[in-house]
């Protein structure tokens, strides 16, 4: 098992180097001189230009610049934002919990509804319920989530007034940040009003972000349930006279879950991509909105740092999924 882990980890190294090269190349590939771009409309004096060039290391060879970048990266230094002048790492870390909290709620929503829906569809194969579940999940899978978010806001926030339109918590509450999760921090503070307000703000964005993963999970659960239901050991279990419920829950679902868990893990990249749109619509102060703002303000160090960190998170999660897959399915560890 340990060897399996090491092999998987070693396979990540070239990908990680590739990711850093892409992020490094990012600023250099931008059309125009990055320093003039950063200076903007006001222009810049020749002395200041040379000073900045030396300060940012642009006067050195590309290879030397890349190793500087890599060295900074390994020390957690991604440079400073051009807009706020604070370290990119700090900016990222202060917003990441918001995205993580939103993503976890979205994933929970997707699993809690998607998994039973997929199981039911498989058990009732060919019946109306199956067709309904599959039709709904194909629709969810095809959903332009930015539009879905706007529709839900129009219905639940503007027309019915049930949910807030944007943000993480009502302005009435000030909660000390401990974990960065509004729901947990408000509980730590013992403030029920704040907790409810945080949940209230989470509902719509979590539904919007969870819609596509929900559809994927329901479809995957159904197809792997159907596959396992055709296996010999399921027939044996039935022949032994076990109840239908027991056959489905114990013999089938447990084995079908192996591929479902993998699919759930692989939703992380999708969630982070979806977070960009969801956070923009709901003004959710997470890394998705931060990246969009950074791109539109041409805050290149932030974009570069954000790209590396997000790719890094996706890679780590995929590694964990691979390992989890190895743990629950011993056949994969060779």
């Amino acid at each position: 098992m340990f060897k399996f882990f090491l092999v998987k980890l070693a396979q990540l190294v070239p990908t990680f180097i590739g990711v850093t090269i892409v992020a490094f190349a990012f600023i250099r590939l931008l059309p125009g001189d990055p320093i003039l771009l950063m200076a903007g409309e006001r222009g810049i004096s020749a002395e200041r230009y040379a000073e900045l060039k030396a300060q940012m290391g642009f006067d050195r060879s590309l290879v030397a610049q890349y190793f500087d970048f890599l060295k900074g990266l390994l020390h957690g230094d991604l440079g400073n934002s051009l807009v706020t002048h604070s370290p990119v790492m700090d900016e990222f870390m202060s917003r990441f919990p918001a995205t993580l909290e939103l993503s976890l709620f979205a994933l929970a929503f997707a699993v809690i509804i998607g998994l039973p829906a997929g199981v039911l569809a498989a058990v009732k194969r060919g019946k109306t319920l199956d067709h309904t579940v599959m039709g709904v999940s194909l629709t969810g899978y095809s959903m332009p989530i930015f539009w879905w978010g706007l529709l839900l806001i129009m219905l639940f926030s503007s027309t019915l007034g049930w949910t807030p339109v944007s943000g993480r918590i009502s302005f009435l509450y000030f909660i000390d940040s401990v974990t960065g999760f509004m729901t947990i921090d408000s509980l730590i503070a013992g403030d029920w009003g704040a907790f409810l307000s945080a949940l209230h703000h989470l509902v719509l964005p979590a539904i919007v972000l969870g819609t596509i993963p929900l559809a994927v999970i329901a479809r995957q659960t159904r197809s792997s349930m159907l596959e396992v239901l055709g296996e010999d050991y399921v027939r044996t279990a039935r022949a032994k006279g076990l109840s239908n419920f027991r056959v489905i829950m114990v013999h089938t679902l447990r084995n079908a879950l192996i591929s479902v868990v993998t699919v759930i893990g692989l939703q992380v990249g999708l969630l982070l991509a979806g977070a960009i749109l969801t956070e923009t619509i709901f003004s959710w102060p997470g890394i998705g909105k931060w990246m969009i703002d950074a791109i539109s303000r041409r805050d290149y160090p932030s974009v570069q740092g954000g790209l590396v960190l997000i790719a890094f998170i996706v890679m780590i999660v995929n590694l964990l999924v691979d390992i989890a897959y190895g743990v629950i399915n011993p056949r994969i560890r060779h």
Partner: protein, 299 residues
């Protein structure tokens, strides 16, 4: 006429086509999808004749007119008008041209490049394969929309850069599929026979192997097509894709957003048409997969 009514002999192209069609048309959803796609293609193609108005024409006397079924609605503007008095229906019709043609280009670019790289990787193996798969792993490490946004930022926002960016993020799927299919087919007897009778690398790759690897690629192409429509619209919505006043569906949504409270139609219809188009392509894709994938075939 007799020639048409006789069933084709097994093994001929016509027989394969007929067998494919009977599998494909067995699924009602796939047929509905196909019909919808053909219709919307026709509408896009004949937009100047189908659309009731010029998509850029601004009628200052008809700002934010609601759809026809409202009391204040007008038969002039079936789906209402936007904030500067442009006909939404006409803009949606012209928008189909952009969404469909950009997405088709995305699929052509990423499928073409993906097949080429996948063939190279699967056929030659060795260091070529390692380099290609590693680069694709890097592309896959970034969330697709984020990478596309980054690429658009480099290339400056616009139609062409959105197209290239989305083609780039779709590329790894084609490369992986082609590579896997080529590796699976390469040691089969017909390939060895072809090689022994003196076929060169290029002939083996493109004439012998590729046609036998196409089934999963065609299914992936439909998936890619629907993803491309969504991604193009998402980029347009974020202001990084096709630039206004071009009537692209995502950009229309972004423009309509500020009138969400007062003019639901300006937000609802562009999104609805995106959803319907993507849904129909996916339905068709499911049918294609069932008809082309021998493992899924009902025997």
């Amino acid at each position: 006429m007799a020639a048409i009514s006789t069933p084709a002999a097994p093994g001929t192209f016509r027989y394969q086509l007929a067998s494919f069609w009977s599998d494909f048309s067995a699924s009602r959803g796939a047929l509905v999808g196909l019909i919808f796609i053909v219709l919307i293609l026709l509408v896009a193609l004949f937009a100047p004749w189908v659309a009731p108005h010029d998509p850029a024409m601004q009628d200052r006397s008809a700002l934010l007119v609601p759809p026809v079924w409202h009391a204040e609605g007008s038969w002039d503007y079936l789906l209402g008008t936007d904030a500067v008095g442009r006909d939404i229906l006409s803009r949606l019709i012209y928008g189909a041209r952009y969404s469909l043609s950009i997405s088709a280009m995305v699929v052509i670019i990423s499928m073409g490049a993906g097949i080429f790289l996948g063939l190279l990787a699967g056929y030659f193996r060795g260091w070529i394969e390692t380099v290609i798969t590693r680069v694709m792993d890097v592309v896959l490490a970034f969330p697709s929309l984020l990478l596309a946004l980054g690429l658009v930022a480099i290339l400056s926002p616009g139609l062409t850069s959105a197209m290239i960016a989305i083609a780039m993020v779709q590329l790894p799927y084609f490369v992986r599929l082609t590579r896997a299919a080529v590796i699976g087919e390469k040691s089969r007897e017909y390939v060895i026979a072809s090689r022994l009778s003196g076929a060169g690398h290029l002939r083996l790759m493109f004439n012998t192997l590729l046609p036998n690897c196409m089934a999963p690629l065609i299914v992936q192409a439909t998936l890619s097509f629907s993803t491309a429509i969504l991604d193009i619209a998402a980029l347009g919505f974020l202001g990084m894709g096709v630039q206004p006043p071009t009537p692209e569906w995502g950009a229309m949504l972004a423009n309509a957003r500020e009138f969400m409270g007062s003019a639901y139609w300006a937000v609802t219809f562009p999104g609805l048409i995106i959803l319907l188009t993507v849904l129909m392509i996916n339905l068709m894709g499911d049918g294609l997969r069932d008809a082309l994938d021998p493992k899924m075939k009902r025997s």
